[in-house]
Symmetry: C2
Subunit: 242 residues, 2 copies
DNA sequence: GGATGGTTGCGCACACTGTGCGCGGCATGG
DNA sequence: CCATGCCGCGCACAGTGTGCGCAACCATCC
């Protein structure tokens, strides 16, 4: 146990310093995202994060007020992965909205912990990235012809759908990957039980059977696209009604 | 410190037993919901829950496998508060869907912690109440004329929207109530900062200003209703397109 | 030069968490 | 009457977020 340098003796490397970029908010946030992607939200602890950066747990508190603030930073950072396409022509609002919705969903599936965390960070966060995004996304709907007040509500509607859907998908995905089995194995295992549970209503089993052979990821993609089209149809109806 | 009865002496009430219904799964779940409603999710601990029931923390483990299972039970229990109206006429599917969406949102605002927890309990739960509900809700859309496969997807779309919207509302509500201030005070305080942040895009401030004087709860109700109508319009379009 | 003051990393400690283990009392059934 | 099961509980362990104060560094100024 004496190997811990109680005294920085002469031959102990005085630590060239700066060999590591040391700690910084950006670095901490980046490593936190890495840890979250690899191990999930409930495995993120300040101690573990510190260890991953060859640092003590409490050292992080020099750069981050507390864990909640860290999470706010992390969430805004992943929002930064999203980009809203520049509005080309007003007629293309539907393609633009589809693209934004798709990239938001993709981001939430890439970082499955985001969904579980969104409910906890209130709107108090509204980091710079999210602020920029919502502004750019608003522009899409305004260009489409929605008045500002409507554009705001329509945008929230679409985002709510995507977040709701993707959160549920991500929870499922985390459950699957944590079990070690593949998604297809999981549904194959769950399917007979579900069918049995709905034995009295044979029709309820039909959607399950219909997608029994297909790649579950494709099924999820289709379901998402179906709902997205439905919501966009609703937006279009609103737009037509002026 | 000797007051702890190391030995149950004769004059120590041998505890008439059964004076309390003691511990039971139902009782535990009910108290957990009470604690969650009062203090929020991060304040729920087995020790605190035990104390609230005049019991030790670990006593609960006789009836509940672990905290995660408790939460699954609790979530299914609050799903039990929802009721799906009996299908009257197929034409009334829209009213029926509106009613279900509204009661789901109301439940999630009554129990603001539900949203934060939904992302964590995967579909692994699917307790009896949720199973019953989705079956009954499916029936509404089938009666409306949707084929089974479409009814399933349309239902998921609607639910995703409601959950996404209500989760965000609930997070905001929890933030507000935890601060002690009223919702109106909060927005009044936040408004100038938001307007300043969007100084370069004056039109972005318009939605904020438009609702500056109104009761925030009414604004939220309106926004939810607006999005709900939009989604239902999309469903109607799908139905018309057969 | 040397002193000074601010910044950074860290060890320690505290209050708290979920939960496995085993004890001792209780109710029931033979 | 004893035996068998159940139930509540105290103890203990590993792990958490985080406040406090020390030690080492850096840049600045006398």
């Amino acid at each position: 146990m004496q190997d811990k340098q109680a005294i920085p003796s002469v031959w102990t490397r005085p630590k060239k310093k700066k060999e590591q970029p040391a700690l910084s908010v950006e670095h901490i946030v980046a490593e936190a995202i890495g840890l979250l992607d690899e191990e999930g939200i409930e495995q993120l602890s300040m101690r573990k994060l510190g260890a991953r950066m060859n640092a003590g747990a409490t050292s992080l508190y020099r750069h981050v007020a507390n864990k909640d603030e860290l999470i706010e930073l992390v969430v805004d950072e992943v929002y930064g992965e999203l980009t809203v396409p520049k509005v080309t022509t007003p007629e293309r609002w539907r393609e633009n909205a589809t693209e934004v919705a798709g990239s938001l969903r993709a981001m939430m599936l890439r970082h499955p912990w985001v969904g579980t965390v969104l409910g906890q960070v209130g709107l108090k966060s509204l980091g710079p990235n999210l602020a920029r995004l919502s502004g750019e996304f608003m522009a899409v709907f305004q260009a489409a012809g929605f008045p500002v007040l409507d554009a705001d509500k329509v945008m929230n509607t679409l985002i709510s759908y995507v977040i709701g859907m993707a959160t549920s998908e991500a929870a499922w995905l985390q459950l699957v990957t944590r079990s070690g089995k593949t998604e297809a194995e999981w549904v194959a295992e769950l399917l007979p039980r579900a069918i049995e549970a709905a034995a009295d209503r044979a029709d309820l089993a039909e959607p399950l059977l219909a997608s029994s052979g297909v790649d579950p990821a494709v099924v999820r993609d289709d379901n998402f696209a179906y709902g997205l089209e439905t919501v966009l149809d609703g937006c279009a109806a609103r737009l037509a009604r002026l």
